[in-house]
């Protein structure tokens, strides 16, 4: 109970300070738009093939835009040495971590939900044909991204090359998760339900989430307290 309250306190703080300035949110959203635009130049999106690659495209955009949010997550604490103040408080490191994951998760989901219709318009895709399944995929894959991203955000927060190290380390780690999400999203956007082979991908997403959440919670003490 106390643990949950602490998680909520930390998450609320992160969300509040993010929503007050909307800095990372705006940056990440406009970055997402810019990437959508860049992609549409790179791969002439009028052709039939858009449909085939729509899932991949979408998750690439989410991954790139999400990295900005994740990067900011612990970087936000550096400014006035706030991280020290947090760690020195009686809140256990896992609560701190899960609070931050929760905040990032909500922000990520927000961005994704804003991007989806924009994507639909730009690439002429009717994305809302399987809303519940799509939501499930979003929910599962975003949790994976949030957990892995937040761990690495904590891991790299004191490095000189933070902005560089984070994407370099996070993306390869996320590939199984992104891959599964991509494989699931493409047929969902085309209106097909999840069945047969696709269920294996769903299981993989769930497995990814569980494994990395467990690993992260176990390791976070070591990461935060030197």
């Amino acid at each position: 109970m106390l643990f949950l309250r602490q998680v909520a306190t930390v998450a609320a703080k992160d969300l509040r300070s993010e929503l007050r300035t909307k800095e990372a949110l705006n940056a990440s959203l406009s970055f997402a738009l810019v990437i959508l635009l860049l992609f549409s130049f790179a791969f002439d999106p009028t052709s039939e093939m858009t449909r085939e690659i729509s899932g991949g495209l979408l998750w690439l955009v989410f991954a790139f835009a999400g990295a900005l949010i994740l990067n900011r997550s612990f970087a936000r604490e550096l400014e006035n040495d706030c991280l020290d103040a947090l760690i020195a408080s009686p809140v256990p490191a896992p609560a701190l971590f899960l609070g931050k994951v929760a905040a990032n998760y909500l922000l990520l989901l927000g961005i994704e939900i804003v991007c989806l219709p924009v994507f639909g318009v730009f690439y002429n895709v009717r994305w809302a044909q399987q809303p519940l399944w799509l939501l499930l995929v979003l929910v599962l894959a975003s949790w994976g991204i949030a957990v892995v991203g937040t761990v690495f955000s904590a891991l790299t927060v004191n490095l000189r090359l933070r902005e560089l190290m984070l994407p370099m380390l996070v993306y390869p780690m996320l590939i199984p998760c992104l891959m599964a999400a991509m494989q699931l999203t493409t047929p969902l956007l085309a209106g097909q339900p999840v069945e047969g082979d696709l269920l294996a991908w769903l299981r993989m997403l769930v497995g990814f989430d569980i494994i990395f959440t467990a690993l992260a919670v176990m390791l976070i003490d070591t990461v935060l307290i030197g």
């Binding site: 761990v151 004191n158 490095l159 380390l169 199984p176 990395f212 390791l219 990461v223 030197g226």
Partner: protein, 225 residues
């Protein structure tokens, strides 16, 4: 003394390797479908096994480091990963050569190939991460975490051919795989020298790491005035 043992190990490995290559070229018949190039399997697969063994050792070393905070485990971890990367590269490159000859292309985005590459990149990222941290204790701590997290991809590489439909051949050594016993024993027998080379390299790297630490500490003391 220690160095002598290491050199001895290296020499033995070299002898074994020449012997194996000789036998491969003269003793074993060409494989029915793939012809002469099939012999590359005697390096391709043991390289992969050695690479996995290295990563696994690094995982263990990292856990031990986090438990004991002794920097020798950190040295072990980084040494095994460096050697593992070398063998991983050997596996990748031999696979690519093989693919070029059998499939006609250097690379295809098949799950086994891709996951091997991801794995390689992750551990390369480990080395990049290490270079970005100055302070040895912090470096050891962060890279131990990285090593533990990275290992989660290794089973993925291993089982990818089971979980997904791949262009890469299905397992022949385990599961319901079949392989001619002469090939099989040759494969295992060639793994031995490669493993010996790996052990030697790890030991050498560990010695270097230790000396580096000593030098660093001395230099820090000099620079502390």
């Amino acid at each position: 003394m220690r160095e002598k043992i290491l050199y001895g190990l290296g020499a033995l490995a070299a002898v074994l390797l020449t012997h194996n290559i000789w036998k491969m070229l003269t003793g074993l018949p060409d494989e029915a479908f793939q012809g002469a190039i099939f012999r590359i399997i005697f390096f391709h697969v043991p390289a992969a096994f050695t690479c996995f063994a290295c990563y696994f050792t690094s995982l263990v070393a990292s856990i031990l480091y986090l438990k004991s905070k002794q920097l020798k485990y950190d040295s072990l971890s980084v040494s095994t990963i460096e050697v593992g990367l070398a063998f991983g590269a050997a596996n990748l490159i031999s696979g690519m050569i093989w693919a070029r000859i059998i499939w006609g292309i250097w690379w295809t985005w098949d799950w086994r190939l891709t996951s091997s590459l991801i794995c390689w990149l992750l551990y390369a990222g480990y080395l990049v991460l290490r270079r970005a941290v100055e302070e040895p204790t912090e470096r050891a701590r962060l890279s131990a975490v990285m090593s533990i997290l990275s290992f989660s991809v290794v089973p993925f590489v291993f089982f990818s051919i089971k979980w997904f439909r791949t262009q890469h051949p299905q397992p022949v050594l385990y599961g319901e795989g079949k392989m001619d016993s002469a090939y099989r024993s040759m494969l295992y027998f060639n793994w031995l020298p490669l493993l010996m080379v790996a052990v030697m390299l790890v030991a050498v790297r560990m010695m270097q790491e230790r000396r580096q630490r000593e030098i660093d500490a001395l230099r820090r003391t000099v620079h502390a005035f």
